[in-house]
Subunit: 229 residues, 2 copies
């Protein structure tokens, strides 16, 4: 029994490694040559698998891209959906509005950092209905998470008086989205800590009754040294 | 002589009307059917011209789109490049930082209002090298205009102390771009005056030493009733 189980584990592990190699090869080629130029044949070639294996595993180049975005955004260690991760729990139980936003910025922006290199491929594949549906789901999921953050601010009585939570969410979606990240980090070459510090102070100004930041809200986070007020 | 001149004027006027009809037909079809679906044949058909006339006038569907964006963004009355229009002069000679921003928002956002319906066509045509070059030029031109606005704030001593003009321009590009307009107006259905009021208060917060707005900065502008602080 032990031997059979061991063999099965090894087989599963080998399949996992092959899958990972196909995803890595696709990612490298999308980045180097662009999405349109990268054919399934070339991905299979680079990964050292038959093209049939690639199609059997991912169905189409569009579905392969979506899977790649998913695992890249999640990071190597984490596989749980964003809403179920530890930092989301921490954010939704934090007891100051500033801390809620600081945690959202720290961890939410890290998802952008990981996924940003693949965004041009997603844009290039926008006419693929599978990619389009996937991206609409990503966008809707991000808004849902941001709406939960705003709801927590509201529960804490931390929202700026008169600010409607729906409109507050519209603002968060606009400022804390992939377009603003692309504009500041990818195009204008801000460092990630600079971007996070800007996002924290801007969201605090936009959302909070008390926008002036207290160091305890962010002092243990990666970008604390960049927050100057 | 008078007769000949009259005939020439009429011919020039007829050519101008035909050109306008081709542009209008293209715009209607891009909006109704999307950029990819709209063929040069269908545009010619709708405009009541031979497809050869369409190609002779605009060379390609991509160039036709760029010309359409250009005249749509400029509006019916204005044909001068943005940098040469009266409101830009007014903005660059205004003597309060708040007034500089208020004028930029009033008139700059109106360009977005006119051009926004065509942005999906531009995105769909992004792989056309002519469209790609044109759009890069539009984006660079917008940044140049926004950098001039920031330079005027700097001249007036109105910039927040320690704020580098280049970084201030990065922020303006991010907040006062077509992505944020799309997010708030097109997707979240904010009214244009609500969007303008948000942009004014946000840019004032981000850029100015004295972010609290004085009514004289915006009271004569179209969105003044929406500015609540």
């Amino acid at each position: 029994m032990a031997t059979v189980k061991g063999a099965a584990t090894t087989r599963a592990e080998r399949a996992r490694q092959t899958r990972r190699r196909m995803l890595d090869s696709a990612g490298e080629l999308f980045l180097r040559d662009g999405y349109a130029e990268t054919t399934m044949d070339r991905i299979a070639d680079r990964a050292g698998v038959a093209v049939q294996t690639l199609y059997y595993t991912f169905r189409s180049k569009g579905q392969l891209l979506c899977e790649l975005v998913e695992v890249t955004a999640a990071g190597d260690e984490e596989v749980a959906p964003v809403a179920q991760r530890a930092w989301v729990g921490e954010m939704l139980t934090a007891t100051s509005g500033q801390r809620v936003i600081a945690l959202a910025v720290e961890h939410g922006a890290d998802i952008f950092v990981r996924a940003a290199p693949l965004w041009p491929a997603v844009a290039a594949a926008a006419s693929d209905p599978h990619v389009d549906r996937y991206w609409a789901g990503v966008t809707a999921g991000r808004r849902a998470g941001q709406a939960r953050m705003v709801a927590r601010l509201d529960e804490l009585g931390a929202l700026r008086p008169g600010l409607d939570p729906d409109r507050a969410t519209d603002v968060v979606v606009t400022l804390f989205g992939h377009e603003a990240f692309t504009s500041l980090v990818t195009r204008a070459h801000w460092s990630v800590p600079e971007y996070k510090a800007w996002l924290l102070t801007t969201l605090a100004q936009q959302l909070l009754q008390r926008p002036r930041l207290a160091p305890r809200a962010y002092a243990d986070l990666s970008y604390s040294a960049q927050v100057t007020r």
